[in-house]
């Protein structure tokens, strides 16, 4: 076989959007594929886990792992790929911060199973059959991975070398990350492989952002006719630009939609949601209790808004519930 550096792509609790980012390399994928040897990529190539297990430890130069850690299979693969790889890269918002699947930390295994397998409006399950890690039928035993109460980020499970932000990361960021790995020009371990400044800094509407913003109440995109050129905060839309790392190319803004914060915080912020909440709340005009409470009614779901991509990485990690045990 070739002497090209071995690279793996793997997915855990994710939607497949990060895989799209790889495919979206378009013709540059040929350069990437020419420079590396892909040893695992479940979404596109037929390698088996045993092929990875057969490799020597550290034989893979880099693994790009997307998705949060939701079940025991994902956890096992994270450990396996960590052992086999020189560099493990948390690729995308779910692996970096927990992502959308991380919002499940508002519930636990029991309540999720209850909802999905019993109460769902299109669910018919009179015997209340729930997934089991092991089931015997006709003398045969079938197994499923265990399901955790709490969704974790990759870093909460194994040591991570670098992070590539975004939901999904842009193909440019991936190209730069691969380039940095191949050339060996890497920043300190633990870095996020994207510039460390807020989105507002690179926003095409930056010049229309007023010196002082004063918002009576936040509007949702469907409630207003959005001006294509004016700062979205100046149009009372909840845009996370001030709290979110840039380098996405302001794609949502260009599509006339406010930033939802998928690139996560800059390096000086520990808890994205707290900081984004702080930034947005400060813009409210109201000065007395009742008016402030009323203004905040325009944000019906603060956790879903400010922790949309980062609940597992937050200081509180998950909702406080009585009986969360976090085993299978």
């Amino acid at each position: 076989m070739s002497e090209k550096p071995k690279v793996a792509f793997y997915w855990c609790a994710s939607c497949g959007g990060c895989e799209e980012a790889v495919v979206d390399l378009a013709e540059s994928i040929l350069d990437v594929a020419g420079a590396i040897d892909i040893v695992l990529w479940p979404v596109a190539l037929d390698f088996k886990y045993k092929d990875v297990k057969a490799l020597a430890d550290g034989a893979i130069v880099a693994t790009f792992l997307n998705g949060a850690i939701r079940n025991t299979e994902q956890e096992e693969m994270a450990h396996l790929l960590r052992r086999k790889s020189q560099y493990l890269i948390a690729f995308g918002a779910c692996a970096q911060l927990g992502g959308i699947p991380g919002l499940a930390n508002l519930w636990d295994r029991k309540s999720i199973f209850q909802r999905v397998y019993s109460e769902g409006p299109t669910t018919l399950n009179p015997a209340s059959v729930l997934p089991e890690t092991s089931h015997k039928d006709n003398g045969r035993t079938v197994t499923l991975p265990g399901f955790h109460d709490t969704v974790k980020t990759l870093e909460q499970v194994v040591d991570v070398d670098y992070f590539v932000p975004g939901c999904p990361p842009t193909p440019d960021l991936l190209k730069q990350a691969v380039g940095a790995l191949l050339s060996g020009q890497l920043p300190p371990k633990g870095s996020v492989l994207a510039p460390d400044r807020a989105l507002c800094d690179e926003c095409p509407r930056k010049d229309t952002k007023p010196e002082k913003l004063s918002i009576e109440e936040f509007k949702r995109p469907h409630q207003v006719l959005i001006d294509h050129e004016k700062c979205l905060l100046a149009q009372d839309l909840l845009c996370m630009g001030p709290a979110t790392r840039g380098s996405c190319g302001a794609l949502c803004i260009q599509g006339n939609m406010p930033c939802t914060g998928c690139f996560g915080p800059t390096s000086r912020v520990r808890d994205f949601g707290a900081k984004a909440l702080s930034a947005m709340a400060s813009l409210v005009a109201a000065r007395d209790d009742d008016a402030v409470v009323k203004a905040m009614e325009s944000i019906p779901d603060p956790v879903g808004t400010f922790y949309r991509y980062s609940l597992p990485a937050s200081l509180l990690v998950r909702k406080r519930t009585e009986e969360t045990s976090d085993v299978r």
Binding site: Q156, R268, R287, V292, A295, V303, R318
Partner: protein
Amino acid sequence: MSELTQVASASDAGKFEPKIVAFFCNWCTYLAADLAGTSRMKYAPNTRVIRVMCSGRVDPQFILEAFAKGADGVLIGGCHPGDCHYQEGNYKALRRFYLLKKMVKEMGIEDERLRLEWISAAEGDRVRTVINDMVAKVRALGPLKSTQPVEMVAEEVTAA
């Protein structure tokens, strides 16, 4: 005095004693706490007071970190509206407070565990009543359900 004896006997019996982290503004509430002290007022010893320059300096990250590290309640004390040493700080605190309160509620943290009070430098007695009241309410709630689900790397909160 009777309140203090109550507290002492409760902890002697191994009963739950809430831990309250209090962020007091340098110009009003912290001075009020000082006044309560020099006036020899007695109140529940459950608060750990942290002096900040302004209630507007209380980053929501500080509050969440307090809860994450085992505080059963967080109290913020600032100057009355209109009295802020920095003009606007307490209004910013007020706005963040109501939004954060809504958010921590979604996260399963009860209302009474997060409180904001305006206490001027002259209101030493108010420090006493607020702290006693909050300690009683949080004691009634019991300890914060602190399911620490993952071994978190201790990370320092640095605020930009």
